[in-house]
């Protein structure tokens, strides 16, 4: 696994897909937040985080993801996750992320879900 988390993104209409590759820790979380905030400032309302290339998330990474989620909710937008390992899926559910953000098995389902919520 790479030492630092890489984040890439693509905007599709009002929805932005963010792909992570690596450990979502302080550095990885900051990368995600930075990328997400740029798109939110540019008017995006929906975020889909595809974590299929991430196998580890720590509590700092989770707290940053909660901050991103709060920011999205402040703007009446929606955030969804997809591509989670079973361990990360369970982690998000226990830590409360799944309370306000949907978790989908595939990216396409996540995009459709976020689209429906922000329409």
């Amino acid at each position: 696994m790479s030492e630092s988390c890489k984040v890439s993104s693509e905007r599709r209409g009002d929805v932005v897909i963010l792909w992570t590759d690596g450990y979502i820790n302080n550095q990885g979380g900051e990368e995600i937040a930075r990328e997400a905030y740029v798109h939110l400032e540019q008017g995006a309302r929906g975020l889909v985080l595809n974590l299929e290339k991430t196998r580890i998330v720590n509590s700092i990474g989770i707290s940053i993801l909660i901050e991103v989620l709060e920011k999205v909710m402040d703007r009446k937008g929606a955030l969804a996750f997809c591509g989670l390992t079973p361990t990360i899926d369970k982690t998000f559910r226990i830590m409360g992320l799944a309370q306000y953000a949907e978790i989908y098995p595939t990216q396409e389902e996540a995009i459709r879900g976020v689209d429906a919520k922000t329409a």
């Binding site: 720590n58 361990t87 226990i94 830590m95």
Partner: protein, 543 residues
């Protein structure tokens, strides 16, 4: 502070709250909203907001008046006070000091009552905000503990069925790094010899496997923090500031090591690992040790099962080859028996009734055990049956079998063999003993003669030849051919059964009875000592 002094207290609160309320409802950070609200409520030129964090003052927000922030008085007076042109408002709630507001350039510097009200409102707001944050942090902490417990439970379940060491290592390492908030981590597993079996790192290597192998950390021990002063001999830590490491071990044996390093914080500092982290890592290491041991035992069990299957197959091959019935030949009484061992050696005996009432027979012992030996026996069996009608003499037959083996045998093995051809009418026995144990010929008189080898084992050297010998078997004489599983059977004192004991069992009785006596005697001699060689006995008595 332009609120008229004559207005009632509730009205003053309502008026002040109205002024600051709209500003506080915004979505900028709280400290910025408080600063803006203070400016809006007081009409001051500028404002600086300080928060009290861990016994220190932190400048949290300010207005846009460009006024230089002043030194925060320490200790902070309890009530509102003036210093030069500034009015200082300590922000307290429930008796706790949460922050301070410094107002500069107030239009109405003589309004302490309104200032006290503002301090009370903003102090309560900051206090409530802090309380909410503390509740949220406590909730997050509680969920983190729950996650740790769930992870331990899940890891136990997951590792219980995990037999792939690589997947097992990943699972343990990922959870260890994640739950301790470490920046990186390494897991190393060793072979029984101490060589590195597997090495995994995430975020960078914490310890090199070759160094971890020399690690002298006591079983179950934990090293924590201060990587520079790790009290271990031989273990070098890669570039890291603080580390936490434990041994992965089962009683009496170290299986590996698990290390994480550089615990992260939100503000980028490297924190000390906590006792909870150390306990968690130890628990993970214990679970990993149990799972690794289970995986190893499973691997051993599979290997044992494979060997068992191989032996069963070899035994089946052997059973198919050995004659089911003894031939009935006029002038001869015949007995033969083979007792295979669990190890399945390569004993083989056979009879070939030939024209003119003659009988050919052999006892062979193939080198090696298991399937390779059984396959060689099978090859010999095929070669003898193919060549026996072609060869004119016993020596020629043995030569043909040797060449067949040199050409077709899959493995480089050899066999000892006693091959005989007896004419019951005349009693003439022609034979070749290819490196086989001496056969015994008990004369009717009771004397026992040894019939020794006439050449080297078959398949041992290329271009070998064998001398054919002849011996006269008189009526009442008993020929005994056997494999070394009989004479080399061991007792509890590691003594061999030996040729003399076998010779003493040769009597004037029927071959069938003698055969049973021999096997009974060998079994009684060996007792409970496991035997590793097949036992074969072939008896011919000329009647």
């Amino acid at each position: 502070m332009s609120t008229p002094a004559s207005t009632s207290a509730p009205a003053r609160i309502a008026e002040l709250w109205k002024r600051i309320g709209t500003v506080l409802a915004g979505d900028s950070p709280l400290q910025a909203r408080i600063a803006e609200a203070a400016l809006a409520a007081t009409g001051a030129r500028d404002v600086t907001l300080y928060f009290r964090e861990r016994e220190a003052w932190i400048r949290a927000g300010e207005g846009h008046g460009g006024v230089e922030p002043g030194e925060v008085p320490d200790p902070m007076p309890h009530g509102i006070f003036r210093r030069e042109d500034d009015l200082w408002l300590p922000l307290r709630a429930e008796g706790e000091l949460h922050g301070a507001l410094r107002l500069f350039g107030l239009p109405d510097p003589e309004a302490p009552e309104s200032a006290a009200l503002l301090a009370f409102l903003l102090g309560s707001l900051v206090g409530a905000h802090r309380l909410a944050r503390q509740v949220r942090d406590a909730e997050f902490e509680l969920k983190s503990r729950l996650l740790e417990l769930e992870s331990l439970y899940d890891l136990g379940l997951s590792l219980g069925g995990q037999l792939d060491l690589s997947a097992l290592a990943d699972e343990v390492l990922f959870r260890s790094i994640s739950l301790t908030d470490a920046g990186k981590g390494t897991l190393v597993l060793f072979e029984e010899s101490g060589a590195v079996l597997l090495e995994r790192s995430v975020g960078g290597e914490v310890l090199a496997g070759r160094d971890a192998a020399a690690w002298t950390l006591p079983e179950g021990g934990v090293i924590n923090n201060a990587a520079a002063s790790v009290p271990t001999a031989g273990m070098k830590l890669a570039a890291c500031e603080k580390c936490l490491a434990v041994a992965i071990s089962v009683p009496g044996r170290r299986l590996g090591a698990l290390a994480v390093a550089d615990k992260e914080s939100r503000d980028g500092r490297v924190l000390d690992f906590t006792p909870t982290d150390a306990r968690l890592l130890s628990l993970f290491a214990n679970q990993a040790a149990a799972a690794i041991e289970t995986a190893r035992l499973h691997k051993d069990a599979i290997e044992k099962e494979r060997i068992e299957r191989e032996l069963e197959l070899a035994a089946a091959i052997q059973r198919q080859i050995l004659p089911r019935d003894l031939p009935v030949v006029a002038g001869l009484e015949i007995a033969a028996k083979n007792v295979p061992t669990r190890q399945v050696g390569g004993d083989y005996f056979d009879f070939f009734p030939l024209s003119g009432g003659r009988l050919a027979f052999l006892v062979a012992d193939v080198s090696g055990k298991g399937v390779p030996a059984a396959l060689l026996v099978s090859t010999v069996h095929a070669a003898v049956h193919l060549q026996i009608d072609e060869a004119k003499t016993v020596a020629e037959l043995i030569g043909r079998i040797d060449r067949h083996l040199q050409k077709y045998a899959a493995t480089r093995k050899f066999l000892t063999c006693f091959f005989g051809l007896i004419e019951p009418d005349s009693g003439t026995l022609r034979y070749v003993s290819a490196g086989h144990n001496p056969a015994l010929l008990r004369r009717a008189s009771g004397a026992v003669e040894q019939i020794k080898a006439t050449g080297v084992p078959i398949g041992m050297f290329p271009n070998s030849s064998w001398k054919e010998e002849t011996v006269a078997v008189e009526r009442g004489d008993l020929l005994c051919v056997y494999s070394d599983g009989i004479t080399e059977a061991l007792d509890a004192a590691d003594e061999e059964f030996g040729l003399d004991r076998l010779a003493r069992l040769m009597s004037a009785g029927a071959p069938g009875e003698i055969c049973e006596k021999v096997f009974d005697a060998v079994a009684a001699f060996a007792g409970d000592v496991p035997q590793y060689d097949d036992q074969t006995l072939l008896l011919l008595k000329r009647s």
